[in-house]
């Protein structure tokens, strides 16, 4: 098959794949229906303070897998839904940020700075229009970057990297994530180490399951679902609930402002916003492609660059950043949304999840099987059909469809999602917890798994409590097995050379990069402290 044939096969896989139901005699493709449902749910979840896209992804994933089954046909509908949620949540996060000064998702914090002043000026509808335009534009730019870069990255890795280099690359990724996330390389490394220790329990090649303390309970190890959902979701719920406990202002009635004046977004205004959207989209896309750096940083950098540009070019009579400038909303929303596509570059190109949302994509492929994200996915074989590559192009089609939904219906859905702000967190969080436990049990029907999930939840809570990011733990847990297998293969391939990691300049470069990342982060942390 030629590259074009793969693209066509991917599109056909989505459009002529399993049918969800007939609408007026027209069969609706299951994947597209799931993408649509994902976008709608994502926008609703994003608009609900206290919830986030990853929470919806976490809860829905085990239920969907149990429903669709563990076969390749389930991959596109499940991944399509998850991607829909991911994209929708970024858009929905702007709603409470603009209307109520409460970011629905952490990355929408910067949106409050100009979005809420616009609401106070009676321009909330216009602010939402700007957020919609910028968010969807940024998302589209990011997706294009993914479509172009992921195959390139994967083919480069596949052509030039052997087992030792791939092992060194995994070490570099983990060290980068440990050093960057949370601002403390020490805590990052501890988080990574704990994740590796947890995944190594009960594993190994010997008959005796290592580190199991001779118990049957630990002999099977911890399931990925209990570790990931426990640390990421249950831990977040416990922390959020504790915060809620101490906050009394939540009962304070929110101020309502009535819109007045012209709410239309003129062509001149769109042209004025274009450079801000373009600049932030590029910045967000670049940041999103690096593992471990999330949407929050992208939003902050996008906003700061936008502010600098605005300060240089602001005309008399136009508000400055922080006073209700539509450019501020555009800069932030374009930046945080442009992370969502490019953060799949390390996932699809290297098999390395870069952020929480990407973790669930890996979790889905790992649970369902038949698709292993990594460089081999992009092998354009001519004689034998690479089914994984067909699935990738199916996934790209699903992403494009999600963008179409966001472009066409996103604004309407954002307006409808304003009702979600009124859902009380006090009731919502226990419901989410119960849903999470139910979802975990649906995939692993053993009460032991629920106890493990709760234990990991307590660990996740404690990590958050001491300002240690749980994301390096999760990524290390996911990559630990691959890292060990890769190291074993590299060791064997080099004939038992103990210095296999130093067998080529590329792997030496990667290892030097791993050390340099930690040292530089350490230096930066010390400078910040002094």
């Amino acid at each position: 098959m030629q590259p074009l044939d793969y693209i066509i096969a991917g599109i056909q896989e989505v459009i002529f794949g399993p049918v969800a139901f007939d609408l007026l005699g027209v069969p609706l493709p299951l994947t597209l229906v799931m993408v649509f449902a994902g976008v709608v749910i994502g926008i609703l979840v994003g608009a609900t303070p206290g919830l986030a896209g990853p929470m919806a992804m976490a809860i829905s994933l085990p239920i969907m897998i149990s429903y669709f089954g563990y076969n390749v046909e389930a991959l596109l509908p499940v991944l399509g839904f998850l991607i829909g949620v991911m994209k929708g949540a970024t858009l929905g996060g702007a709603v409470p940020a603009i209307l109520f000064n409460t970011p629905g998702t952490p990355d929408a914090y910067m949106t409050t700075l100009d979005g809420y002043p616009l609401t106070k000026q009676g321009q909330s509808y216009k602010a939402m229009k700007v957020a919609h335009l910028s968010s969807v534009s940024g998302d589209t730019v990011s997706d294009i970057a993914l479509f172009v870069c992921a195959p390139f990255v994967a083919l480069t890795v596949e052509s030039y990297l052997d087992f030792p280099e791939k092992t060194a690359l995994l070490i570099l990724s983990l060290s980068f994530i440990a050093a960057i996330i949370g601002g403390s390389p020490g805590k990052g490394l501890i988080s990574v180490a704990l994740g590796l220790i947890a995944v190594f329990i009960g594993g190994g090649e010997d008959f005796y399951p290592r580190l199991s303390l001779g118990t049957d309970t630990l002999a099977g190890g911890f399931s990925i679902i209990s570790a990931v959902l426990g640390v990421l979701i249950v831990g977040a719920i416990l922390k959020e609930y504790e915060t809620l406990w101490h906050r009394s202002e939540l009962s304070v009635k929110r101020k309502q402002f009535v819109d007045h004046g012209d709410q239309r977004l003129s062509l001149a205004e769109i042209l004025r916003l274009a450079p801000y959207i373009g600049q932030s989209s590029l910045v967000g896309t670049m940041i999103g492609a690096l593992p471990g750096i999330g949407t929050t940083l992208a939003a902050a950098v996008g906003y700061q660059l936008g502010r600098a540009r605005h300060a240089r070019r602001r005309q008399e009579g136009f508000p400055a950043f922080g006073e209700g400038a539509i450019e501020g909303v555009a800069a932030t929303e374009a930046a945080n949304s442009s992370v969502s596509g490019s953060n799949l570059i390390p996932v699809l190109g290297l098999g390395i999840p870069g952020n929480t949302a990407a973790v669930f994509i890996i979790l889905a492929t790992d649970s369902i099987g038949g698709f292993t994200p990594g460089p081999s996915v992009f092998r354009f074989s001519e004689n034998v059909v690479n089914t994984e590559l067909v699935l990738v192009f199916g996934l790209f089609t699903a992403m494009l469809f999600a963008n179409i939904v966001n472009w066409t219906l996103g604004a309407v859905l954002m307006r409808a999602a304003t009702v979600m702000v009124r859902v009380p967190k006090r009731t919502l969080l226990p419901v989410v917890l119960l849903l999470t436990l139910t979802a975990v049990y649906a995939q692993e029907p053993s009460i032991e798994t629920l106890w493990f999930t709760l234990s990991f939840g307590v660990l996740g809570y404690l990590m958050r409590k001491v300002d240690m990011s749980p994301l390096p733990f999760v990524i290390a847990f996911i990559l630990g097995g691959t890292l060990e297998t890769s190291a074993r293969q590299a060791f064997s391939a080099t004939g038992g050379d103990p210095y296999f990691l130093f067998s080529s300049w590329t792997s030496i470069l990667f290892l030097a990069g791993a050390i340099a990342t930690v040292v530089l982060a350490l230096k930066r942390a010390r400078t910040t402290n002094t």
């Binding site: 990052g188 501890i190 419901v431 629920l450 890292l483």
Partner: protein, 184 residues
């Protein structure tokens, strides 16, 4: 809480030492390197040893990094709240696990019969009893802790939410099992 980073750093170092010198050597089937028929391969102890070494490095870096400075506030009050919160969830899980079989045993006592939960786990009300009571405990218990008092409204919401989840999960998905039915 200026000493928090020191506690974490020292804790990580101690755990790493225990792992490297006690846990890994005594609880793995093979050592760092394995030789079988002149073939050398990586043993099961290798990866955990690296992980514990990394933990030691992380702990040491944290001690060097900023042992005197932290913005983290950790009070006994916060921790006691969290312990209560986890306690409620533990209670809910215990209900989920044992309430169904326990209720059946009590019913058997009154009816003078001898039923087995495993055979009844697909029938009403046993199918839902554990999940309902456990779910109600978690939802109503957490909301009660947060509000500071038990309200009838909270219990009603707990009942509605748990029933809603049963309808949402059990009715459309035939293969999905509610806790604890998969264990029997």
């Amino acid at each position: 809480m200026n000493r928090l980073n020191i506690y974490i750093g020292v804790g990580a170092l101690l755990l790493a030492l225990v792992g490297l010198f006690i846990w890994v050597p005594h609880d793995t089937g093979t050592g760092l390197i394995v030789r079988v028929r002149r073939q050398v391969s990586i043993g099961d102890a290798f990866a955990p040893s690296i992980a514990f070494a990394l933990l030691a490095i992380g702990g040491a870096i944290l001690l060097i990094e900023h042992r005197k400075r932290t913005n983290v506030e950790l009070t006994l009050m916060q921790l006691s709240h969290s312990v209560a919160l986890v306690g409620v969830i533990v209670l809910g899980l215990l209900f989920m696990q044992h309430a169904g079989p326990a209720l059946l045993r009590i019913t058997d006592l009154f009816a003078n019969s001898n039923s087995e939960y495993r055979l009844l786990r697909e029938t009403f009300p046993w199918k839902y009893s554990g999940f309902f009571l456990g779910g109600l405990t978690i939802v109503a218990g957490m909301a009660t802790l947060s509000a500071g008092r038990l309200q009838a409204r909270t219990v009603v919401i707990g009942c509605l939410v748990t029933t809603g989840l049963i309808i949402l999960v059990d009715l459309p998905f035939e293969d999905l099992l509610l806790p604890p039915n998969g264990d029997y």
